[in-house]
């Protein structure tokens, strides 16, 4: 009997207990409560992991038991993800994202942000110049659904009424109006600007210009009725946040686009992946910014009817975002990932 026992079987018998132990510890870690592991158990995992890895190498060389090799492969893979996985909890990582990763990513894209801003401003100027010459251009920039009667044929009183005093019956639907607007328009433009960066920056640039042009069309309409200052307050109370968000989305799109166009020394897929990770961090933040903009638009604008205060909020939000992203900060104690 004993002479018939295979060497590979003996190999397995000698180590099986360790593998099982590792498996049990992994199940504990992967479960909801890694905190329940004692310190010695935690220290045991890397040791058992390296044992299992060497068992796998040996097993591949000496045994023909496919079931055993499969087992060791998936055991090692599972342990690998624990041993080399993130050490921090979801909350810590989220906190770190807002305190460090996001502002850093935004700062890293300053060139693209500048480019997106310039293109937007260019669109704004062109639209204002065109509409100044011929009011008919207005409809080329602003879709009817969005205009809601605010077009060159409207009276100054009507335009004024759209800026102040929430229409009756809408006081309660502020949030839903905000939500609808957020989803149908801004988030859409932001995500498109980001995603279309793929196509070598061209569609992103076009979107930035168009967004600027639409803003310019609105402004020029209100300026022509002598409501420029009031319209500015109405627009910028949330617009500072919103336009900044859309511009950042455009910058993220440009980052991906330039990586596809000019990957440099790296393989194209790798360059895109690297630019994509940074751009994605920016984009996650952009979604948060759009959310804030939506809140400002849905609530603050309905509640604050005074133009000066509106400008105050706008300035404040500009200062907050500017300081948050570009303000001086302590050199981070935690290194880059």
């Amino acid at each position: 009997m004993a002479e018939l026992q295979l060497k590979s079987h003996r190999f397995r018998e000698e180590r099986e207990a360790d593998w099982r132990r590792l498996e049990r510890l992994l199940t504990k870690v992967e479960g909801r409560s890694p905190g329940k592991l004692t310190a010695p158990e935690l220290l045991e995992i890397p040791v058992l992991y390296r044992q299992a890895l060497s068992s796998l190498s040996v097993a591949r060389a000496i045994t023909l038991d496919q079931g055993l090799i499969d087992y060791l492969e998936s055991l090692c893979a599972r342990a690998y993800f624990i041993v080399y996985g993130p050490r921090t909890s979801v909350w810590e990582r989220t906190g770190r994202f807002f305190s460090h990763d996001w502002p850093a990513a935004v700062r890293g894209l300053w060139r693209e942000t500048l480019a997106a801003t310039l293109i937007g401003v260019l669109g704004l100027i062109v639209a204002m110049a065109l509409i100044h010459q011929d009011a008919g251009w207005y409809f080329s920039f602003v879709p009817k659904a969005l205009a809601g009667g605010r077009d060159p044929s409207a009276s100054a009183e009507f335009l004024r009424s759209t800026l102040f005093a929430a229409p009756k019956g809408q006081q309660h639907s502020g949030l839903s109006v905000m939500a609808a607007f957020l989803f149908t328009h801004n988030a859409g433009i932001a995500l498109l600007a980001f995603a279309l960066g793929f196509a070598f920056c061209v569609p992103t640039g076009a979107l930035m210009a168009y967004n600027g042009a639409m803003l310019g069309a609105f402004l020029s309409l209100f300026i022509s009725r002598g409501l420029g200052v009031e319209a500015g307050g109405w627009l910028f109370i949330h617009g500072v946040t919103e336009l900044f968000a859309v511009t950042l989305a455009g910058a993220a799109g440009f980052a991906i686009g330039t990586a596809t166009l000019f990957p440099g020394d790296r393989p194209r897929a790798e360059a895109v992946a690297q630019a994509g990770r940074r751009a994605a961090a920016v984009m996650t933040g952009v979604v948060v910014m759009l959310f804030v903009a939506g809140l400002l638009e849905g609530f603050a604008r309905q509640l604050i009817q005074n133009t000066a205060v509106r400008y105050g909020v706008a300035t404040l939000s500009a200062a907050v975002w500017g300081l948050y992203f570009y303000g001086p900060r302590r050199r981070g104690g935690l290194g880059h990932e």
Partner: protein, 281 residues
Amino acid sequence: MSDAGREFVTPEGVDLRLKVGAVSERAGALVIDLLIIMAALILLTILVGAALWVSNVTARSAPAVIWLLGFFLLRNFYFTGFELTPAAATPGKRVMKLRVIARNGGRLTADAVFGRNAMRELELYLPMIFMLSRGQGVDAWVISLGCLWSLVFLLFPLFNRDHLRAGDLIAGTMVVRAPKPILAPDLSRDGAVALNELRFTDEQLSAYGIKELQVLESVLRSNDRKTLAEVARRIRGKIGWIDEVGVSDRAFLTGYYAALRGRLERQMLFGRRRADKFDAG
């Protein structure tokens, strides 16, 4: 491709040969996740509705807000939140035994998880919005363009080796299978018992190689009576077995398996790997 596994070398220099998650499994995981999100939204709607009804407040816009805002928040934070946990998988992926990893073998960073999920917005929800905006003044050609668009992204994973979707490409991630390992019993032990009654000659054991041994292993593990009988008949014929003792098919096969494995492993230790029966060794 998926059988051989993908090369994935750990810092210790061992290739783990990870198996790339199949497109079908990932689609299944996505459907499960979407169903969970949907169920959560329905539950929330009912709860809020009940709360409003009890407190006698009429808010007709409440369901719209819950669905627009709730769906947006859930779809963005559900995937990201779960993929940031140690299991790196949403409940749907867990059910399908999948997990997200960084393609370069490093740690799965938060950026990467954000990235792959931000792209989902573009791959999945944007086309959905295109479709839903039908009949709201959107031209037919815009809709068909939207369909084409989503088709490109939907089929994207089918056309690359690692089944990456656009989000994986952007974020430098991939989805691999992560089954719970199960250590099956060693068949050579049963075989050793059977070998007490059986004797095989060297010629009889040199009929097959490693490939056949592994087929035999899977046949024995699946333990299907008909297949066992058929395989036993073939092997008996091939090696010219004269049945003296009258052993059962399974006992014969386990015995032969143990003997063959012993011989092949011994050869392997001396540096000879006999790949299959055509290999002269």
